[in-house]
Symmetry: none
Subunit: 127 residues, 4 copies
DNA sequence: GTGGTCTAGACCACA
DNA sequence: GTGGTCTAGACCACA
């Protein structure tokens, strides 16, 4: 369900937090929807339950998830979410642009380069 | 010279390593070019010298930089660099695509969205 | 420095949080004052470092403490602290009154009873 | 009938145990008096029956309550109760004093402060 | 030296 | 079944 990369340098719990935040912002997780239990997520991603728990705690503190005794965590009725999907994409856009500049890739060619990359992904998938 | 973000979750020394790797791969740092001294970088970025040193050490171990007694670190004559600029952009492309998917942003619209974003940046800059 | 009671039913990290909150509210910990390191507190109270860390994290999230790399935690310059000392005492006053009622102790006699108790404590101390 | 606070950090069953213990010590529950059924208490306090049951079990083990087949729990004929009401108030008194000290409130002023607080409560009630 | 992250695992409270 | 707390201990990033 989530993509957790332990070698990326970004703490696992932060990766989880960001992904859930995006799924809620994008409406793929709706208010009232339940999240996988701590134990379930931990075992499917081969990660310690406390790591998952830490992510859930942070999202609760942010008002995005709510905790109810004996129940799985669920998306808050009115999740605090000032950011729009567009804003939540900016960090990735900025990262891409920064990397391109440092690689000497002309920034104006990035949209085309991205387009090619997507096409290539689609081809791999279909083959 | 570099963009170091202490709050990003990614260790500072790793941010440095990746940026220098890209500058070398993209040819903006050429074989024989000198890098700023540990002390200088440390003070301009308000970071501990050991953090810079750790990044330089790792790049030396990778064969990208060479250290010569009493001289600043410099880019290796034939920097080991299997990856092409294109490959070095893939992580950022993948991140962007993953984030878009989780936000419910149609992936096909990403190139256009990126184009708009670049246009907007240019406008801000010129104003 | 702190009074941690593992058998009280109240999680240790919560006991710590409440006590630090009070020390800050009462001015015994001033903005800029350092707190004991996680390891130090952990060893003097025979408690796991992560338990202390959890308390510090919560206080940072509340804006009462600030964290600076490689430095001990310190009291925030302008600690978020809407509550006055008087308000922070109410839970204990309410607990006392509730207990008295259930014990059939006439509530009006509580101030006198408290006075006696304090006198007794002073006597024990001096003897 | 009881005051159960799920957010206090103290387990609900412990809150119940302490309150019943006080009601018995203070004579408001007399030997032979019946307690509400597990189901009734559970529904009036919106709590799981097992939680109530756990409290009753503990009080039975302490010899304060007795269980008789098909009958509601009742207060034991000679409830084991070494503590006097005065002793049962000490934890609350100690908590109050500790909190005051940490808040920098002069301990000698506590009785007066408590008196004021009680007066204020009475006023609110009558208005 | 400082704090942070993570694990493996025990045990608790609650539904 | 759910999540919470805590431990002992390893290892990391940073000053």
């Amino acid at each position: 369900m989530f993509i957790l990369n332990p070698g990326s340098g970004i703490p696992i719990y932060r990766q989880l937090v960001e992904q859930i935040r995006r799924l809620v912002a994008g409406g793929q997780l709706q208010p009232g929807d339940c999240l996988p239990s701590v134990r379930e997520l931990a075992s499917t991603h081969a990660v310690n339950p406390m790591t998952i728990s830490k992510a859930y705690n942070q999202l609760e503190a942010e008002g995005i998830l709510v905790r109810r005794r004996g129940r799985p965590m669920e998306v808050a009725a009115r999740p605090t979410q000032a950011d729009t999907p567009g804003q939540l994409l900016e960090p990735q856009l900025d990262e891409l642009i920064q990397a391109a500049r440092q690689l000497g890739v002309e920034v104006d060619t990035l949209p085309e380069l991205l387009d090619d990359y997507l096409r290539q992904l689609r081809k791999e998938k279909s083959s």
